[in-house]
Symmetry: C2
Subunit: 191 residues, 2 copies
């Protein structure tokens, strides 16, 4: 399903069919099974990943051995550890498929070559990162402005289908609290 990528690019820049076919040659199509890792801590984040279908997550393991999810990437989102990807140095993170996912991967040097051949794509990625940067600002605002409980309710209201789709312990890991506490919050509402 490279069609998703094409549509996504065309939301931001004009790109012809032939050009898109050439651009695609820089990518590798990967099918990731549920829980399969695309990146493991201490390895380099070799590729930038575009999610065609499914869902990936970026997480790390804290000093207590608990997985903490930094980001989810649903259809049409890009995901990478950009610190590691930019520098091509070892990462502190894991990237894992939450469910069976189809992913378009582009490694660092292909990325650079692709941008050289198609400078228009600089604009595309500028806009993608600008959006991601905006999303991070919003995320940090949320983390600071509301209690954990409120955070859950807001997230639940904003992404109800997604909350249904993922297991609770992953949601807890993303919202920054324990599964036990999430359970407690949910049962408050019912009563």
């Amino acid at each position: 399903m490279s069609q998703n990528l094409k549509n996504h690019i065309q939301k931001f820049v004009d790109i012809g069919d032939q050009d898109f076919v050439k651009i695609l040659t820089y990518f590798t199509v990967t099918d990731a099974a549920k829980k399969q890792n695309l990146l493991v801590e201490a390895n380099t984040c070799k590729s930038n990943y575009f999610v065609s279908t499914g869902c990936l997550r970026l997480f790390f393991i804290n000093e207590k051995g608990v997985e903490q999810t930094i980001q989810f990437a649903l259809e049409n989102w890009w995901l990478a550890d950009y610190t590691s990807f930019s520098s091509q140095k070892p990462s502190d993170f894991y990237i894992q498929a939450v469910e069976r996912s189809e992913v378009l991967a582009i490694d660092f040097s292909s990325h650079e070559k692709m941008l050289q051949e198609f400078p228009k794509m600089e604009r595309y990625f500028r806009l993608v990162h600008q959006r991601a940067h905006a999303a991070s600002q919003f995320r940090i605002k949320s983390l600071y402005s509301v209690s954990r409980e409120e955070l859950y309710h807001q997230f639940n209201k904003r992404y109800p289908e997604f909350v249904q789709r993922i297991p609770q312990y992953l949601l807890a890991s993303f919202l920054g609290f324990t599964p036990e506490y999430l359970s407690e919050i949910r049962n408050k509402r019912i009563s």
Copy 2:
């Protein structure tokens, strides 16, 4: 001091002197007094700001009326509310000078025109946002992995000169806790 901007751009892309002079015409040089607001909540974030000298901060006021700082921008950092800037819709944030600062501002339509005239600058801004995105990932990781107290010690170790430079209540607001608690943490160390 537009020299700072020139140096910064040249770290990422090759740009000639004449081109830079033309690029500069899209900017407005602003001198911001300490505590002066460049953006106020409910207004649109009209410009993207490059800090030549001094320090800006991005913050919002939470429902309790407390200012929460999302980001600081020191020399050679860009700052804007990118949600508001991209959409040119009202912002939830304030941008304020922490100290007297010299700022290069470029408004949204100048930004677009400049990028049209100098497509190379798409690459520059792509890299700037990619770095910022990487920094946000790291920031969120920090917020999740360590206690507030540890957060302070890490920050203090990493940016000692900056901790000296800004008032404590701003640091507390950035690290996500109260000035009282920061005071307590600091005095633990001394004894």
